[in-house]
């Protein structure tokens, strides 16, 4: 068999659309899971016991169920009880909920790692609990969470390939279609491997830069 990438030329536009869909789904899901993760992290550090327990149940539940099962439940299960959501929205919601469970872990440990003395300084200065949280706790927790949140994002990009199982033609889905149209699975999946690797590599590069930018004061010499 000859290895010939040129046979993919007519399908590049279609594949690019798929890639775009993957990127869109991942960006929306990242936003969704960071917001959800933040809320759940707040709940998990809350003073009210039942709020904490509820948050723990959510995190445990969604981390311990295969993503594809969650996805099938949302897409094929919910319509049975009259809830219809389109494939893209379902994918984003499912990825956000699953990613949120991991993101909440990351943000929670960022919150718990904050030196208590800093919070005491805020308290005696008269800062309200809410202001202390939004101006001090959250910014510090988020900036120390950039790298682990990056891992959550990369995982999300990889997991998003599963969205192809609910008729969403994102990168993997469109690659499958091209493969069956051209009968050239070898070439098409080689391309797919390279594109995913490039995508996640770019993301981790970006995360590294962002981390250094946000923590730049820590890296300069004392002077």
């Amino acid at each position: 068999m000859r290895f010939d990438l040129t046979i993919l030329a007519p399908h590049i536009g279609f594949l690019a659309e798929g890639a775009l869909l993957t990127v869109q789904a991942c960006i929306l899901s990242l936003i969704g899971s960071v917001i959800l993760g933040m809320l759940v992290a707040i709940a998990r550090t809350s003073a009210a016991g039942w709020v904490r327990r509820l948050a723990f149940v959510y995190v445990d539940l969604f981390r311990n169920i295969p993503f594809i099962v969650q996805l099938f439940f949302f897409y094929y299960g919910l319509p049975e009880i009259g809830i219809y959501i389109d494939a893209f929205t379902t994918g984003v919601i499912a990825l956000s909920i699953a990613g949120g469970a991991y993101a909440s872990d990351v943000i929670r440990s960022g919150i718990l790692a904050i030196d208590n003395g800093i919070l005491e300084a805020a308290e005696v200065s008269g800062l309200s609990k809410r202001k202390t949280f939004t101006r001090i706790v959250l910014p510090i927790a988020l900036r120390t969470s950039v790298r682990p949140l990056g891992s959550v994002l990369i995982n999300m990009i990889l997991t998003s390939s599963i969205l192809s199982t609910i008729t969403l033609n994102e990168l993997t889905g469109s690659a499958k279609i091209v493969a069956s149209d051209t009968f050239r699975p070898f070439e098409i999946y080689v391309v797919l491997l390279v594109v995913y690797a490039a995508l996640t590599w770019l993301v981790s590069l970006g995360i590294g830069l962002l981390h250094r930018r946000l923590n730049r004061d820590m890296l300069e010499p004392v002077g």
């Binding site: 300084a121 005696v124 008269g126 510090i140 900036r143 004061d217 820590m218 300069e220 004392v222």
Partner: protein
């Protein structure tokens, strides 16, 4: 007036404050001496409301720190400087200083910043306003910590072993600032191990021992052989501090 009346505080089985009385009048500098574990820091933490009292009363200008509604007023009147600085690591020196004036006192941002810069200049850090805490030396950080407390224009400045984490050179930097504040008439409650410095700047020196105030005397009398030094525990403490 800052009043501590018969304050008791225990942590589990350990009694840390066992009936402490202390009055600080505006304009006074009161140094609190005592060995580690004598309850000095706990006393400060009771005054600024970080610890709840088991018994007794603390009022800052008549505001009872045990009552949540009055605590906010009491805290506006006192400013705390911490041993380990406790600066906000994600904010510049200037932001550290202006956060509370803007958010709590609702001061206009530009006014708060102008005052913050003036404070930084007064402690010799005029050119470090935009530096982050991690970019500053320990002595510089503590000077920012002092500015942060002063920015709230407190009537009482509470200093909790503010030089204990600093080397001698940096300690000198910080003490120079405190001497200046004392000379300007700032009211201070000064928990310290710097005996000689306490002697120079305070009007009164009190000695805490195992949770009780053993001695509370004007500075001159405290260091007098017939005054504070007549207490064996004080004499022993001072001779030890001088040797170190």
């Amino acid at each position: 007036m800052l009043k501590v009346e018969n304050v008791k505080k225990s942590f589990g089985a350990a009694t840390v404050l066992n009936g402490v009385n202390l009055t600080v009048r505006p304009g006074e500098v009161v140094s609190i001496l005592g060995s580690s574990g004598s309850g000095k820091s706990t006393l400060i933490r009771c005054i600024n409301g970080l610890e709840k009292l088991d018994a007794g009363l603390i009022t800052v200008d008549e505001f009872d720190v045990s009552k949540p509604k009055e605590l906010a007023e009491a805290r506006k009147r006192s400013g705390t400087v911490f041993q380990l600085f406790n600066l906000y690591p994600h904010m510049t020196a200037l932001k550290n200083i202006t956060l509370a004036p803007v958010e709590v006192l609702k001061r206009p941002r530009d006014e708060a910043e102008a005052e913050g810069r003036a404070l930084l200049a007064s402690v010799g850090l005029g050119d470090r306003a935009d530096a982050y805490p991690a970019q500053l030396s320990g002595g510089q950080r503590q000077r920012v910590g002092i500015c942060r407390a002063l920015a709230m224009k407190p009537r009482y400045l509470l200093l909790d072993e503010v030089t204990s984490a600093l080397d001698p050179e940096m300690t000198a930097e910080v003490l120079t600032i405190l001497a200046k504040l004392a000379a300007e008439g700032t009211t201070m409650v000064f928990v310290t191990h710097e005996v000689e410095f306490a002697r120079q700047i305070s009007n009164r020196v009190v000695f805490l021992e195992k949770g009780t105030l053993l001695v509370d005397l004007p500075t001159k009398d405290f260091f007098d052989p017939a005054g504070g030094l007549a207490q064996p525990r004080v004499a022993q403490f001072l001779s030890k501090m001088r040797k170190d």
